[in-house]
């Protein structure tokens, strides 16, 4: 093994990337902050699952959902989490197709975020159906017992297909991207267990030219498929609302506006996670300020789009001349939920405008502050859309004011627990930067290229 240390200058550069990334999972103990975080987040996860059990035993009545607001926090949380996921696919697929090389150091991270966010999202509609044990009835399968088929003309079914396709494709994309890096961890393993487990994940990858050739083609194809997919997912989520006939929901602007909002919230979440992670795991040379700055620019762009959409909604309500539509919007901004509406506007429209200033785009902690506001704002956006419209339906006698229960609140907090638990495990045990991709786009030290 004497030759291991020798190598050209070029090899040293690659070795440096490998070292930096693998060190995170290879060092015997993670930083103390990791332990504190995982204890905290996993207890929240346990709470979440405890509450889910309670809900299954008692029924969905443990939530605040009641006439006329039958869709409340669970749907708000669902849309919130699905939206968060979108940044991951955007980074990994769309930026890949546009040959944005800077994505390589953040894509693995963002894809992981996508998958964990979609997992959190999936929980809420799953338990919202009431009889969770019949969740498989959502699937179109031939059954003598039911002797019927799902209604394929319903947006809710479209949603089932969109979200499950999204989850599967993202998982495949993520895992496939990780195979060569798992092989790196396998080949560096110092214990039998590590070698076996990473070896299992790496599927016997050797990095032969023929393997790479097909791998690259498959990666390109997956990126090309994931791009329209990611746009379709939030479009279809918005159909849940837009295809109904409730004032405030029945608008054609929803699909583009939802997609922009999803990307907006997703990037905010990436920054919120990335800034502490690069600090704790010493990745500042791989994930540079430039990467972060690029992301803040995307946030600025999509945040402005979202603000524009809010304005257009009001304009169309006025322009349509439909009294119910006009009422829905005036009620949003000045009715009983005005507080939520203005939280949304200040967080989503005003706060990202700070990114016009270079100081905000280049100071990590300032970014995180703005991004947390963005995430709060995006949660409220879904709350405002869902709850204000439902609480004022066509029958004034049934109008009501929605109040969440403790279970609502704790479940939402618990979903964050689950998200962070998965994330912390990912940071500790998997390659959090796509090493092979970084190496492929690296300057190899030769002048000719």
């Amino acid at each position: 093994m004497a030759t291991i240390a020798s190598g050209s200058h070029e090899q040293d550069l690659y070795r440096d990337v490998t070292e930096r990334v693998c060190k995170i999972t290879e060092r015997p103990k993670p930083p103390r902050a990791w332990y504190i975080a995982i204890v905290f987040s996993s207890s929240l996860t346990v709470m979440l699952f405890g509450l889910i059990g309670y809900l299954i035993v008692k029924g969905v009545g443990v939530w605040g959902n009641n006439a006329p607001v039958f869709w409340a926090w669970p749907i708000v949380n669902f849309v919130f989490w699905v939206g968060i996921g979108h940044a991951g696919t955007l980074i990994s697929a769309i930026l890949f197709l546009f040959r944005q090389d800077w994505r390589t150091s953040i894509n693995r991270f963002a894809e992981a975020m996508t998958i964990f966010a979609v997992m959190c999202a999936g929980i809420f509609p799953g338990i919202h159906i009431g009889r969770v044990w019949f969740v498989y009835w959502l699937a179109p399968y031939p059954s003598q017992h039911l002797a019927m088929w799902p209604n394929f003309r319903s947006p809710l079914l479209w949603d089932v297909f969109a979200v499950s396709t999204y989850a599967s494709v993202s998982a495949m994309f993520w895992y496939m991207g990780m195979i060569p890096d798992l092989a790196t961890l396998r080949d560096r393993a110092t214990t039998k267990t590590r070698q076996f487990l990473y070896g299992l994940g790496a599927l016997g990858w050797t990095g032969s030219a023929r393997e790479w050739s097909r791998y690259e083609k498959a990666y390109m194809l997956l990126a090309a498929l994931a791009t329209p997919l990611v746009l379709s997912v939030h479009t279809i989520v918005s159909f849940d609302f837009a295809v109904s006939q409730l004032p405030g929901w029945h608008t054609t602007i929803f699909p583009p506006y939802f997609v922009a909002g999803a990307v907006f919230s997703g990037f905010a979440m990436v920054i919120t996670l990335m800034v502490p992670a690069r600090r704790f795991f010493g990745l500042k040379d791989l994930v540079t300020i430039k990467h972060l700055e690029n992301m803040t620019k995307i946030i600025l762009a999509t945040g402005t789009m979202v603000g524009f959409a809010y304005g257009i909604e009001f304009f169309i309500a006025w322009y349509s001349g439909v009294r119910y539509e006009q009422f829905a919007f005036i009620n949003r901004a000045f009715g009983p939920y005005a507080w939520a509406y203005w939280i949304m506007v200040s967080c989503n429209v005003i706060s990202p405008q700070l990114f016009w200033f270079k100081k905000f785009r280049t100071t990590p902690w300032l970014m995180v502050v703005v991004c947390i506001f963005v995430n709060i704002g995006m949660w409220f956006e879904r709350f405002v859309i869902t709850v204000t419209s439902l609480s004022r339906d066509f029958l004034p006698s049934s109008w009501g004011y929605f109040k969440p229960t403790a279970v609502d609140v704790l479940m939402f907090i618990g979903s964050f627990g689950m998200f962070f638990t998965l994330f912390l495990l990912f940071c500790r045990y998997l390659p959090i930067v796509a090493m092979s991709e970084v190496k492929a786009v690296m300057d190899d030290g030769h002048d000719h290229h």
């Binding site: 019949f134 002797a147 394929f152 599927l203 050797t206 083609k217 492929a440």
Partner: protein, 413 residues
């Protein structure tokens, strides 16, 4: 190189390491130009230009993905059409059973899902992955391939090892060694094979049990994981119960009480005392009332029209020709049990005295159900009045119209 089977050792090939990606590409084309056929390059990341140097042909993966995508799309579209229009058709909000826009989202998602699955599994299958026990991965130097190592492996069997070494050296290799594999190692251990076979046999038991139970009948009730509403803690009609002294779940009517809607007012009797049963043409020919038992007014006519349109028009049609919406629908579905309602303008109906029509509503006729529980006697008479007016309207001549209104009628023609 020949297989040295005696020592149970097989030569995998000659492995040479290079210092970087450029050198690897150069070496690959050099070695191949010297006539070596079985050459493979290994690197930590994909290198552009290596495919050409090694003569790797483009993969068929994109075609597989295309087929999967199109196939998935067609299947999804056909499946939605068949399930929602043929196998289990039902109308929702009057929407068409099948319409392209409503079925596009699911088609699109299935298309993407099948294409992506084939891209992923196809890549693995074409690369023969997963493959465990790669002999190269037992070589310590080779392990650097996933870090910073660049390698060429030449495994041409017929050529002497020396010649390969020489060619690789000339191509600028930094280290060269022969990689071997013991045949013993490459075999799957015997206990593992037996274990797998036994496990597979056990795994067959549940599907076999299900297969054998299919189509058979059983006296025992179905197993319920979740009871849902199949069993409810309530007392059903005709069941015994210990709750009451008489041991019955059903309660008889309490003496001296009148059930809801069962009260017959004194004022009603004038109407309802009309003979209700008996068929015309039998021994006792019915004496039907021929006069309305109350004063006929405009408001009674209005009431009659309104009630008729609610209670009778669904079957008999608004004009009374026996072609209401329910009838049209039933005839469309071709349900054999449906009797088309009699046209109220049929001769035998037109000749009926008011009392007989009243009786038809009250007690029903043959297939037509009785309406005495749903329509009050006053309303029944009002409907009769309207039916009479309808009948007259459909068989009227100009002479039936009052003289002073004939001119206006003519003018409006």
């Amino acid at each position: 190189m020949s297989d040295e089977t005696k020592k149970e050792i097989r030569v995998v090939g000659v492995l040479a390491q290079f210092s970087g990606k450029q050198t690897l590409v150069k070496a690959a084309s050099e070695v191949r130009s010297k006539g070596f056929k079985d050459v493979e390059a290994y690197s930590p990341f994909p290198i552009h230009g290596i495919d050409g140097a090694l003569g790797i042909r483009p993969t068929i993966l994109p075609w597989l993905v295309l087929i999967a995508g199109l196939g998935g799309g067609v299947l999804a579209m056909a499946g939605q059409w068949w399930t929602n229009t043929v196998d289990y058709p039902y109308i929702i909000s009057g929407k068409p059973m099948f319409s392209l826009p409503a079925n596009i989202p699911v088609t699109f998602e299935v298309m993407i899902l099948s294409a992506a699955s084939v891209a992923f599994t196809g890549m693995l299958a074409l690369n023969r992955l997963p493959r465990f026990g790669q002999p190269l991965l037992r070589n310590n130097r080779f392990l650097r391939v996933t870090d910073d190592g660049f390698f060429l492996l030449v495994s041409d069997d017929e050529v002497a090892e020396e010649k390969i070494r020489q060619a690789l050296e000339e191509a600028g290799a930094t280290d060269i060694e022969v990689v071997t594999e013991s045949v013993e190692e490459s075999k799957i251990p015997v206990p593992l094979v037996y274990g797998a076979v036994i496990l597979a046999c056990f795994a067959l038991i549940p599907p076999l049990m299900i297969a054998s139970a299919r189509g058979t009948t059983s006296q025992k009730p179905r197993l319920h994981t979740w009871f849902d509403m199949d069993f409810q803690p309530k007392l059903k009609t005709q069941t015994p119960s210990n709750l009451f002294a008489d041991g019955r779940a059903m309660r008889p009517r309490i003496k001296g009480t009148v059930r809801r809607g069962g009260l017959v007012k004194d004022t009603d009797t004038g109407y309802t005392s009309i003979p209700a049963v008996g068929t015309p043409g039998g021994d006792s020919v019915q004496e039907w009332k021929v006069e309305f038992p109350m004063e006929v007014t405009d408001s009674m006519m209005d009431r009659g029209r309104q009630r008729f349109n609610i209670q009778c028009a669904v079957c008999h049609g608004k004009a009374g020709y026996g072609n209401g919406l329910a009838t049209i629908r039933a005839l469309e579905l071709q349900q054999g049990t449906w009797i088309q309602p009699t046209s109220l303008h049929a001769d035998h109906v037109r000749q009926q005295p008011v009392g007989q029509i009243f009786n038809s509503i009250t007690n029903g006729v043959r297939k037509m159900p009785a309406y005495k529980d749903q329509i009050t006697p006053e309303d029944r008479w009002a409907i009769v009045l309207y039916v009479k007016a309808l009948q007259l309207s459909q068989n009227a001549t100009l002479e039936d119209v009052p003289a002073d209104m004939r001119e206006t009628l003519k003018a409006s023609e």
